[in-house]
């Protein structure tokens, strides 16, 4: 066998189940055969259920291999008989899991070497920025508005409207802040993108800067993502050296630079105003709005605050035109959404699809059902503040409006599957507990209400006046929803209420048994 090229993911999740060991196995076996293999460390394709895996380059394309048994055996067999090996998955591009997706934002992730700016360019990178450098700023804003792009952070606010407010705001110092504090359980798309295609985020931020007249950007990345932080730092340095970032971008006379700030383990800093406080070095306490961050944001200046996936969608919109992006999706949900399948699911990973696909398609066709093969009980969509959706509602389309109408929310696109062993009283209790732990403390309904919520649920579980305490819990949920300043306190009732409403049996059973696990 002549010198071969292999691709192995260096994404932290892939490494967490042995991708580095696989590289060592390939290197060792090759050395035994006197071959020096070329091993490219890519990001992840998002097929985490197949990890650790590797790909071999051939004239027909890249073939995937998933070791069963020991890695050494698989590698030996692959060197002996190539794609005839039992562990060969076939051509990657033909895998239904990838084939059936609509990958726009993640088109390069898992394919290119995230450390190589040349690889990025070669695969279509910087085309959007090159165009943007020659455009009038208002035309960039118009393109983003026309594309229908909405903030992917949760609320789904139209990105173009926000940009145009910042653009029109008085003042010469403006900022672009990228919210990379993706703390929701069941979400990992931001991490995957930053580790697998970091230049895309950089490109999106520069375009945002050009559009609104900002000279500086910050990326606020959660500390739980050390590999993403390191990759982004390295990519910024590389982009600066290559002249894509800094005082004179590609000799255009235009300037933009990016600084990374690391979070410090506070979930509430994912809320945009708490993030701004944290970026200013203070306690991450939520600010009351108005003033809008678009007018008075970081250090009191007009600021664009966008999520990673929002900014990462921008280069494609500018490069290929607003209509191209708009053509994906349905209703007011345009473009694609990277959905993340997690929890008790057989095929966990990232699926990018146009809006409008149903939860059932995602969970059954892509996800392959539960990991245990047991019946599915609930899916939590939209992170710890998202609702628990019962099996019979899985035909809901996964888009902003359809979910909102049914009393749920899409949030960051994370789907967490639970099988029938889940106890929904326990999950409702956790929602309150999490809110109590992470509350910034600014308003009483959240700070004290969440603590009370835990106590009331414990009383139900202990069989203490269950009917009365459930009524009290409902009242508390209304108070938190109406009286909280931000989404943490305001949305915690969603998982609690949906658990209660759709799974009353779990509460009744606990109450009847007087289960006093937490007493």
């Amino acid at each position: 066998m002549k010198s071969e090229t292999f691709f192995v993911s260096s994404d932290s999740a892939s490494v967490s189940v042995g991708a580095d060991d696989l590289v060592r196995a390939i290197t060792a076996e090759a050395a035994r055969r006197g071959i020096e293999p070329r091993i490219v460390r890519t990001g992840s394709r998002g097929l985490y259920f197949l990890e650790p895996m590797f790909e071999l380059e051939t004239q027909e394309g890249r073939f995937g291999f998933q070791p069963e048994g020991t890695m050494a055996e698989c590698v030996t067999e692959m060197f002996d008989i190539g794609v005839e090996a039992r562990t060969c998955l076939g051509l990657m591009d033909d895998l239904p899991w990838l084939h059936k997706q609509e990958r726009l934002t993640f088109e390069r992730c898992g394919i290119v070497d995230p450390r190589s700016i040349n690889d990025y360019r070669f695969h279509g990178g910087f085309l959007g920025l090159e165009r943007a450098l020659g455009m009038a700023p208002e035309d960039i804003v118009a393109a983003v508005t026309e594309s229908g792009l909405r903030g992917r952070g949760g609320a789904g606010f139209p990105a173009g409207v926000k940009w145009s407010t910042v653009r029109g705001a008085p003042g010469d110092v403006k900022y672009v802040c990228c919210n990379a504090d993706e703390g929701d359980s069941g979400t990992f798309a931001d991490r995957m993108l930053m580790e697998g295609d970091p230049f895309l985020l950089i490109e999106g931020m520069i375009i945002a800067g050009l559009a609104v007249g900002a000279g500086k950007g910050f990326i606020y990345i959660r500390s739980e993502y050390p590999a993403a932080i390191q990759m982004m730092r390295q990519a910024i340095e590389t982009a600066r050296i290559a002249g894509w970032l800094g005082g004179d971008i590609r000799e255009s006379g235009k300037a933009f630079d990016i600084e990374i700030r690391e979070g410090a383990g506070a979930y509430v800093c994912g809320e945009e105003t708490a993030m701004l406080e944290s970026l200013e070095g203070k306690r991450g306490m939520v600010r009351a709005k108005p003033p809008l961050p678009a007018l008075e944001g970081l250090f009191g200046r007009p600021t664009v605050v966008n999520n990673v996936l929002t900014l990462a969608a921008v280069p494609m919109i500018v490069a290929r035109g607003a209509a191209f992006y708009r053509n994906y999706g349905m209703g007011h949900s345009r473009g694609t959404q990277p959905f993340q399948l997690a929890g008790c699911i057989r095929n966990g990973g990232l699926v990018e699809k146009a809006f409008g696909t149903t939860l059932r398609t995602l969970i059954e066709d892509f996800g392959g059902g539960t990991a245990t093969g047991r019946p599915l009980k609930a899916v939590q969509v939209g992170g710890p503040l998202g609702g628990y959706i019962p099996e019979h509602l899985l035909d809901l389309p996964a888009d902003y409006e359809a979910l909102a109408e049914a009393g749920f929310m899409l949030g960051h696109g994370g789907l967490v599957v639970f099988d029938d062993r889940a106890d929904m009283l326990e999950q409702a209790r956790f929602a309150m507990e999490f809110c109590a732990i992470e509350s910034c403390g600014k308003c009483t309904p959240c700070r004290l209400g969440a603590q009370r919520g835990v106590e009331v649920i414990d009383r139900v579980a202990a069989g203490v006046e269950p009917a009365k305490n459930l009524a009290l819990l409902d009242d508390l949920c209304t108070l938190m929803k109406d009286g909280s300043l931000c989404a943490l306190g305001g949305l915690t009732p969603m998982p609690v209420r949906t658990a209660l409403y759709h799974f009353p049996g779990d509460f009744e059973r606990a109450a009847a048994q007087g289960d006093i696990r937490w007493a």
Binding site: V17, Y48, S185, E224, G281, R283, C344, V416, D419, F434
Partner: protein
């Protein structure tokens, strides 16, 4: 009670960190994070010089120090095991994994073993939700985690 010794040459090392961050806007959190990287925690003696250099009150700096879960006021144990407690990991048994480790080490979350070797901590999502349950052992991330895996990693670290 743990007795926290004052680190050697505290003033000099803090002074160096402060001068390295002179150009940073809104530097308080960044400086505290740098101090924690240097010492493993934020020593009590660091508050005064940080407040003075950044023109903040002692209370401001203390407020930042106590707000963030990551910042520590005492040195950590030699080994830190963090177990994800969020929903995707719960769905794959992180609660029972936590109980097993608690029993094995005879400590609860947020506590350190009697010999001071290992701390068990809660963490809320490591972005490894598709390979849950997720843990970190001394900062290294593991997916599809089991009690055996954690003990093996700790053994390897000794």
């Amino acid at each position: 009670m743990t007795i926290v010794k004052t680190p050697v040459d505290l003033a000099g090392r803090i002074g160096r960190i402060l001068s390295e961050h002179e150009a940073v806007e809104g530097a308080c959190l960044v400086v505290l994070q740098a101090i924690q990287r240097e010492f493993g925690y934020v020593p009590a003696g660091a508050l005064e010089p940080v407040a003075r250099a950044l023109n903040l009150s002692h209370a401001d700096v203390y407020g930042v120090l106590t707000f963030y879960h990551d910042l520590r006021r005492a040195p950590p144990a030699r080994h830190v095991v963090r177990v994800c407690q969020s929903e995707a990991c719960q769905a794959m048994g992180s609660r029972s994994l936590t109980e097993q480790l608690s029993r094995r080490f005879d400590i609860g979350l947020g506590e350190t073993t009697a010999d001071g070797a290992t701390t068990l901590e809660a963490v809320y999502c490591l972005g490894n939700c598709a390979l849950s349950p997720a843990v970190t052992v001394d900062g290294a991330l593991y997916g599809r985690a089991t009690e055996f895996l954690v003990l093996e990693r700790l053994g390897a670290a000794e």
